[in-house]
Structures are given as C-alpha cells and as structure tokens.
Amino acid sequence: MMTSFLFRTLDARAGIFIGLMLAAVVLVPALNLLVPEGSTFHVPTYAVTLMGKYLTYALLALSVDLVWGYCGILSLGHGAFFALGGYAMGMYLMRQIGTRGVYGDPVLPDFMVFLNWKELPWYWYGFDMFPFAALMVLLAPGILAFVFGWFAFRSRVTGVYLSIITQALTYALLLAFFRNDMGFGGNNGLTDFKDIFGFDIQAGTTRAGLFAASGLALVVCFLICRAVTRSKLGKVLVAVRDAESRTRFLGYRVEHYKLFVWTLSAMMAGIAGALYVPQVGIINPGEFAPANSIEVVIWVAVGGRGTLVGAVLGAILVNFSKTWFTAALPEIWLFALGGLFVVVTLFLPKGLLGLMDKGWSAVRRRPAKDTAAHRAEPQPAE
C-alpha cells in the first residue's frame, strides 16, 4: 500500500533524478573511502561534507517548494523549522560529549557550566537518547508549524501578510535564541561536538555516512512530496493556490489542507536541519536570520517552483556558486545574489526547469500550449 502510494506516479524526470541521487549516494562515499588519495577519482573529505551540506539545503528547498510551489504559501520563515531541527540534533550531540567537555561535567554542556547553572533544564531531558532526539527533530518544527498554521490559516491570513508574519516568526525566534537564559547556548549556539552514535564526527567514514544519509533522506522526502502532489490532495493544493475561495465553495476546508502540507513541510525542513548540523559542526541562532529563509526561496525560484526537482537543482546550483564566489570574489557575491532575485522574478518565472521545457518544446517545433507562460508577462496592477 505504502510503496504503491509512493511509487505510483513516477515519470521520466523524477526517475532520472532518483537514479542520479542514488548513484551519488553510492559513488561519492566510495570514491572518498575506497579510492586512494592522490588518484584523480578521489573525492576529498571536505568535498564530501560540502556536498552533504548542499543536499541538506536541497531538502530544505524541497520543503519550501512543497508549500510555495504547490499551495502558494510563500514562507519567509522556513529557516526557523530548519534551525529547530538542527537544535534538536545539536542537543543530542551535546549530550554525547559527556565528560570530554572543557569543564568535564558529565551532564551539563560546557556553556551551562560557564553560566553557572546547577542542573539540566527539563527540556534537555531525553536528548541523550537518539530515538527521542530524532522524534524531536520532527516534533519541534512540526508542533510549531501546526500551532502557527492553525492560527494563521484559520483566520485566512494569506499572501504577503502570511509571508511577513512567517518572517516575524523566525525573527522572534532569532531574538529568543540569542538569549542565554533560553538554555540553548545563546550567541554561540551548540558546537564542539565529538561523536554521533559513537562514531567520531570528524572521521572520513562518518562524513561519508552523513552524506549518504542526507542523500537518502532527500530521495525519500522527494518521493513523499511527489506522492502528495500527484494525489487528489495535491490537485486540491494547486486549486487553493490558483483560486482559494473557489476551492472553499466546492466544500474543501482550505485551512485543513494548508495546515497538513505546512506541517509536513516544516518537518522535512527539520530533518534537513538535523542532517546539516553534524556536517557543519555547529548550530547557532544565526540560522534563524530572516535573510537565510528568503535565500531558500530564491533557490526554489531559480530551479523552478512547483517542480520539486527544480528546488533541488536550484539549491545545489546557487550554493555551489556561493561557495565559489565567496572564495574568489567575496565583494561580488551579494550583488550576484541580489541580481539573481531580480533576474529570476523578472525573466525566469518558471525557473531553469521552465526554461529547459521551453527549449525542448521549441526544438520539437511544437508551439507551447502552456498559457501559464503568457501569464508570466507583466500585467498592470488591478
């Protein structure tokens, strides 16, 4: 039942994507671990980690595409869910440090000893057990999204208003997590992790494993998104995106649909954050910065919203460029990113995948039937 639910709607593009991802999941760790250093085919560990990071970003972008591309909810606060998942994972990793911290306290993380705390706050209980931490990776963002969404969708906050309050949400969390009293390490966040499931977090094998886990998580989440968007529920979502009140008059309770997909998306963002933290080795309040969340949106826009594959493609491309630019031409990066926002919204409303589709149909000399393309033309404000 579940497998048929997940696989019943695969098309060629999705198939190619999954094939490529699975190949990467096998090949990259293999080329890192099995091929000797110095060989042309060797993939250095830092590259594995970098690519692993891109994959977690891709998963985050996927979650944004699910709500924005299919349901029209432009979230400027998905970084909050990503960071919450990251903090849940970070708390597990902190508890794993045990007595190896600077102060050697068996229970309290270093920053708590430093702040002169005597005992572990209640909300840190249980994070020494991975299953509990993993559950919280899903529940912390999930519950926040559910509560927030329940309020927002029920009172029909839509469009730009919703975008702005999602931004306010992540901004509020940013301020909150900066406070030392919150018990999440304040400004510095959580860092100095030692190991994960007993494996050294710096070791090449662990890094390769984390890469593979990120790749697999991406594939599984992709399948889930795909199944959701291709189901009748997915059609309702698109209906909500295009004509919300019409959908209501058909008898669909729009707020329930939004809440479902919003919470699902937040949980995926949480998973992405949880995989991100052990690879970069730190989680701090900076991840809540509103600017980060908006950047995610542009990844999706670059790849092509409402395509899922495009979100992944956009996330990887933009972040690869970012890595390259910030090393080679750091002054230029913000101009490039800013320009990307403008160019994509003005000239590439369907993103790179849309451009590719257009190119293909031009090659096949078939006139594009898609009128959505002409909707992309400038329209006077009504």
Binding site: A172, A176, V342
Partner: protein, 539 residues
C-alpha cells in the same frame, strides 16, 4: 563628619563660583578680619566669628567651616591664617579666602586656632546664616539641599531662621524638606516627626522614599504607621511617574517606528507594492546625512548646525530618485504579483547594502548631533532629551505633511484615483505609470528623510535598514493597510506597549512578546486595526 566634608566641598565650589564675581579687593578687605583670628582667646574668637559672618560674604564660609573642624591654623612667624591639610609630615597651606595653595609648613611652624563646643555652635549658626541666608538664591538652594542629604539635626535651628526669612517659594520648599529630613534624624517628639513625614510624603521622589524607608525600619508606633503610609503614597506617585516615563519612551520609540513605517504605508498601504528595500531607502537617507556632514566639516564648519536641514531635501531627492528608478526598472513589471515583488525588492536591498558597504566600508559611520539636538531638560521627574523630542516633533510633521499632500493636492487626488480604479483613472487622462512612479518615489523619499532623523539616534551602517524593515511592516499591518491614521496609531501603540513590557520582560523578550502579540492580532483582525471593509477588499 562626612556631612561637614561634603558641606565644605560644596561651599568651596560655591564660593569658587561666586568668588570669581568678587574682586580681589573685596577679598583682601576681609584679610585683617581673618588674620585677627590668630590672636586672642575664645571670647574674642567668638566675636571675630560673628564679625566675619556679619560681612555676609560667602567667601568666609570655607574658613569658618575649617575653623569648626580644627583645620584653621596660623603661621607662627607672621601670624598669617591658613586652612591646612595634612601632607606627609607637615601641612599643606591653603589661603583661606582665595582657596589657592600657599606653600607648605612643618608641624612646628604653625599653630592651631583653638575651638570648643560652644564656639562650634556659634560657627555653625554663623555658617547657616551665611549660606542659608546668602543673597544668591542658588547658594541658599544648594545649602538646603546639602542639609537634606546630610540630615543633620544640628542644622534645624539655622533652617528655622532661614525659613522664616526666605522669600523665594522654591527655596523655602527645599528648606522645609531639608528641615523635615533633619527632624526625622533628630530626637524630637511625635508631633514634629509626624509633621516632617507629611512634608516628605508630599515631596514624593526617590530621595524622600529612601529617607522614609530608612526611618520606618527603626521607627515605632504612630511614627512607623505614618511613615509606612507616606511610603505607600510615594510609591504610588512614583509608579505614576514611572508610567509617564514609559509613555514618553514609548512615544519616542513610536515616533521612530512611525518614521520608518510611514513611507512603507504609502508604497505598501496605498499602492499595494511590497518593498523589501524600504529599509535601505532609510539607510541611504542616513548616509546622505553622513556625506553632508563630512562636506560641511571639511569646507564650511560654521554650517554644521544646519547640516540636518541641508540633508533633508537631499535625502528626499536621492532616496526618492532611487525609489523611482526601482519602480520603473523592476517593480512595474511585477504589478499584480506581490510575492514576486517581494523577492525582487529583497534582491535589490541586498545589492544596495553591498553597494554602500563597498563605497563606505562595513563599519559604523560617525554622524554628529547639531547643538540644538543635544542636551535635555526636566519635566517633573522626567528627563527629556532634545534629540528624542525633535524626532517626535519631526515624525508628526512628516505625517501631517504627507496627509496634506495626499488629501489636498492634485497629485494626492490622482494617487487615490489610480489606487482605487486604475482603468477609470487612465481613461480620464491620468498618466497612471507616472503616478505609480511618483507615488513610489514619494514613499521612498520619505524613507530617506526618516533616515536623516534616525541617523541621530542609531548607528549608521549598511545594516541600518534591516533593523527597521520587520518592525515597519508590523506597524503597517497592525495599523491596517491603506490607512495612514492606522499607521500612526499602530506605531504609537507598538512603541508604548514595547516600553511597558520592557521593565517586566527585558528588552529582547519584550520585543518577542510584541511580535507574538501582532501575530495573534493578525489572526483576529487579518486586515489590521483600521481595516477597509466590503467587497472591494477581496477583489
């Protein structure tokens, strides 16, 4: 003793001040009287003190004080009188009238002018009449305040005499308060103390409170009851002043929010265009101020006090021009697609920030305050700084000006026509694209002049705008989109609420609470405080 020291210090200051007004001759005419102290017995000394006091010259206060303390000595060789201060094995000599150092002396070279308790009393009385009854009301006031701080019961008699003669109401009030403080510290009876408590209670500030609290801790019976009652009363009045202060701070913050949000109220509220680069328009206005001040500093420093007035129109034109360029270049292609507009303008904001960072560097720039915006004045128990006050005045002026433009000018009429029914406006011959560009330019220009004002109270850095963008949107959304009055009320409400939360929750948590409050508020009234209603809203 500490009272005497502080009293002496104060007197030195006062006489140092008034001494400047006294001519050298005046001082020297006192010299024989002073030097006479070196001769004679107690009886004569007492008369000499009375003579000195009778001159009514405040310059003699320090030396009388020194005499009371036993610090007044004369040089055996020439019988010249000095205030002495221990220095190593000997003394440092200070001229008793000019208070200037006059060399050193060993212990054997000088001799102390002797005083006994009777003489000390006369000295104090003389001093009291000298300072508490000095000609200059400022001297009397300071003397009374010094007594209040010292709570010296010995000063009561001098105060009584002074109060009887006092003609200045303000000074008399302070004297009565000083007397009350001294009475509380004395061994007098219930009636006197109860009266004193009454005086302090009506004084109502923190000094009175701490005095009464200290007194109540050791008092008993009726006195304690009265003191406790007075403490409650003072606490109440302090809470009232505290509220007034919070409101003032809140209005001040509200005016900053209003300045930042008011341009947005036009672009977002009136035009429906969401401009994430709005904060950068504010930032550019602040940088214009910086550049103007730099140019004035290097070429025409005498213009510095007018730097803000020069920067205002420049900031308006530059920010407005950039805004119009953005509208013509990007936003007009995205009308009707608010989410895309949001993203594109965010991109523009990134580029503007980086441009400013590349030109001026990433660090804070120094923007000075002209003289008329520095300083403060007191209102009751509030301290009101001029720059905050000017910002409040300025924000209200900008608001009023904008209202005037939108309601009373042809341009405002066109703008409202275009936003209400674009096609109809176009068919009546209004050039709608130009109105769009001008309206957007107006909103951006106002952001620019907001930047000039904010440069006075905030760090001028490339990130200046980012700090305001979320708050500005909150204000506009909270107040109700498309309604300038809503923006005014929204800004002030959020400012005041924020400042009232701060004492309980801290600045950061207060801000978070306000954000949560707005998020919840939007649930209840998705269209803000002053929402437009009707079918048009959904369209």
């Amino acid at each position: 003793m500490s009272f005497l020291k502080s009293f002496l210090l104060l007197l030195c200051l006062l006489t140092g001040f008034s001494g400047a007004a006294l001519s050298q001759e005046d001082l020297e005419s006192l010299r024989p009287l002073v030097n006479a102290l070196a001769e004679g017995k107690f009886k004569e000394t007492e008369k000499q003190v009375a003579d000195l006091a009778a001159t009514g010259n405040p310059a003699v206060a320090p030396l009388l004080e020194a005499l009371g303390n036993g610090d007044l000595q004369f040089r055996k060789s020439d019988k010249a009188v000095f205030i002495t201060r221990s220095a190593g094995k000997g003394y440092q000599l200070i001229d008793p009238l000019t208070l200037e150092p006059a060399g050193d002396a060993s212990r054997s070279e000088v001799s102390k002018i002797k005083v006994n308790n009777g003489l000390r009393r006369s000295i104090r009385a003389a001093l009291g009449s000298l300072t508490l009854m000095a000609k200059d009301p400022a001297v009397r006031l300071s003397a009374a305040e010094a007594v209040f701080k010292a709570k010296d019961p010995d000063a009561i008699e001098a105060l009584d005499a002074a109060i009887a003669k006092e003609s200045d109401n303000d000074v008399r009030l302070v004297m009565e308060q000083a007397r009350a403080a001294a009475v509380l510290n004395s061994t007098r009876g219930d009636a006197d103390k109860l009266e004193a408590i009454g005086v302090l209670a009506s004084m109502g500030n923190r000094d009175a409170l701490s005095l009464l609290t200290g007194f109540a801790a050791s008092a008993e019976g009726e006195q304690k009851a009265a003191a406790d009652k007075a403490i409650t009363r003072i606490n109440k009045s302090l809470a009232l002043w505290g509220n007034a202060q919070n409101i003032w701070y809140g209005v001040s913050l509200g005016s900053v929010l209003l300045l930042a949000a008011i341009g947005l109220a036009i672009t977002f509220g009136v035009m429906g265009v969401i401009n994430m680069a709005h904060g950068e328009m504010v930032m550019i206005g602040a940088y214009v101020t910086f550049v103007v001040q730099e140019m004035i500093r290097s070429s025409a420093p005498w213009l510095f006090d007018y730097s803000l007035l020069i920067a205002l129109p420049l900031a308006f034109v530059i920010s407005g021009g950039i805004g119009m360029a953005i509208e013509r270049g990007v936003i007009r292609w995205l009308y009707g697609r608010p989410l895309e507009t949001l993203l594109a303008t965010w991109g523009i904001s990134l580029m503007l920030q980086q441009a400013v960072r590349s030109i001026f560097g990433p660090t804070n720039q120094e923007v000075g305050n002209p003289s008329w915006t520095s300083g403060a004045f007191e209102l009751g128990q509030l301290t009101i700084t001029y720059n905050r006050m000017w910002i409040i005045v300025f924000s209200l002026l900008v608001f009023a000006g904008l209202m005037l433009v939108l309601k009373k000018t042809p341009f405002g009429l066109f703008t409202r026509a275009v936003t209400q029914n674009r096609r109809m406006a176009a068919s009546m011959g209004i050039r709608t694209p130009w109105i769009d560009a001008l309206t957007f330019g107006l909103g951006s220009g106002i952001a620019g002049i907001a930047g000039v004002a904010l440069s006075q109270i905030d760090n001028v850095s490339p990130n200046l705008g980012q700090g305001y963008i979320i708050d500005s949107f909150m204000v506009v959304v909270f107040g109700g989109v498309g309604n300038l009055w809503g923006t005014l009320v929204g800004a002030m409400t959020l400012g005041v609420v924020n400042k009232f939360l701060e004492p309980y929750a801290g600045a950061v948590l207060g801000k978070i609470l306000v954000l949560v409050f707005i998020i919840l508020f939007i649930q209840k009234r998705p269209r803000g405080l002053f929402a437009l209603k009707g079918r048009a809203v959904e369209a």
